[in-house]
Subunit: 353 residues, 2 copies
Amino acid sequence: EYKVLNLFICGIGTVGGKLIEQIRSQYDNLKEHSRLKLNVVGVASSHNAIYSRDGIDLAHYKEQLKASEPSSPEKLRDTILSMNIFNAVFVDCTASKEIAALYQSLLDHNVSIVAANKIAASSSYDDYARLKETALRRGIKFLFETNVGAGLPIIGTINDLRNSGDRILKIEAVLSGTLNYIFNKISANCPFSETVKCAKEEGYSEPDPRIDLSGTDVIRKIVILAREAGYRVEQEDVDKHLFVPDYFFTGSLEDFWKHLPELNADFEEKRKKLEAEGKRWRFIATMDHGKVSVALRDVTQDSPFYNLEGSNNIILLTTERYKEYPMLIQGYGAGASVTAAGVFANIISIANV
Amino acid sequence: EYKVLNLFICGIGTVGGKLIEQIRSQYDNLKEHSRLKLNVVGVASSHNAIYSRDGIDLAHYKEQLKASEPSSPEKLRDTILSMNIFNAVFVDCTASKEIAALYQSLLDHNVSIVAANKIAASSSYDDYARLKETALRRGIKFLFETNVGAGLPIIGTINDLRNSGDRILKIEAVLSGTLNYIFNKISANCPFSETVKCAKEEGYSEPDPRIDLSGTDVIRKIVILAREAGYRVEQEDVDKHLFVPDYFFTGSLEDFWKHLPELNADFEEKRKKLEAEGKRWRFIATMDHGKVSVALRDVTQDSPFYNLEGSNNIILLTTERYKEYPMLIQGYGAGASVTAAGVFANIISIANV
């Protein structure tokens, strides 16, 4: 009478931790109101892993992990495959390349994948296509909704539109909460280098903010959206118009922080001009009929990007049917709770309750 | 190797007609790329119906319908049940009360329902709850995403959020394309009565525009959203602040058109004041912790409702997790193609490909 999903959760950082909390608190509710049992049969941190066919006690998984044998990506994969469990879903809440490298063999053995990890969907197109094809052929799932916009319904919406025969013509989006925070924060009193420091201190940026400033994260996201929209795109195909000179990304992190204030005068000059024109800066990713770019752009007050507050994301989808006015989706594009909720939605969609 | 859905499509007006076109043009694509066969086994207009277990030829269904025996809602139901076909989905593209009344017995016989028709989900709460409960208990579906915002991903998103344990605290929305068109159109040169006439002539409003002006359609939609958000709400519970006096809704349609210009002077006076204050009118539906209202409101330039163009819809979801900044979804909220696409997405979700 119940549907059952058997989950292997990999990564117990902020997103994985929140996901386990959500599964624990929703267990009874889903069982009663959706006739779905979410059985967590494995939990792995970067160095340890625990397993139980009957379900792990989610109230005490951390203690159990600490007391467990050391693990590795290969051990993890081998154990999952040897357990040979039905309705299995591997949930990747890491940012690890080694974990992403396990997907193909897991899918080959009928384990569905739900990934918060962006690496697989944004690396080589052929690998991405092979993962999707494997899942389709085996009637299982490879889902990664939270790769773009965290819990916002973006990839699923693109898939729905395309399934009904619509064509995605153009995507324009602010996909970096960090960069939007920075360009909302910058002012006469808060120079560029200071905004970057604030973004780090308030937890918006990566510990090394160059990962955000280099556009790497945004490039991954727009590549994933372009692919899901039906275009064959690689990260190298993305046309980049950044706002920090390339040499800032090559030295040490200490050098980076030391030299960052050198950019302030130039930024302030441009900012004053921008302000006088009533414009704002937004770091916008664009996919236009398969051509992909990321760039810092000036937007005017009538742009939907202009009022994008805080670290929010926004996505405009122009399609054959949403043409004069694109479809617009906006909200938090990062954060552990909303990302975990997006992962959760992907998991539930596999059960199709 | 293929999943199969057997569809009974009821209603071949603008939405049903577009849906059949979309199914026809996507058939090969879905078969090849999603391993899904969409088999249309029945098509019904308001007076006729045709059936074929092997699939109806969608290129010639109209001729076949014309040549077919007369039908009725009861005959339709009896034929569907007697065909006793597996993976059956009844797709309601009508606005008929009689057709909505068939859902319960169809669900009782394991036929899933996808409804563009708003009547079932917005009529008595107990009936709505019983339909949902029946579908859940039988492991089939009762879906109605297009009841609100046409093809915009609203109801599915609310369900996803709640499944992960989020709570919907507040919904604020412009849900009537017609009314938004009217309040975008009104100006010194285009008085209120003229905007209503334009809305009718350009096909935005119902043939009897009082259905839009009375807020009936918006009330249905916000009731559905409130219910999906987890609150027990009836249409009678909705607090109404309309902008056309009640007596306009009681007489004949001729009287309505004749007297409508009497409202122009009052509207123009208020409009001038509004314009001087830099505000705009929006007809906003609100659900706040279960309390539901619809009202014509003034919005300022910093409101996300202010720039809502043409006949677009917008929905803001404030939840426990999307709190400081709500999730925002915006786009066409009506139109045959986008509504049919939303129905299509619901159908595909049943196959869970």
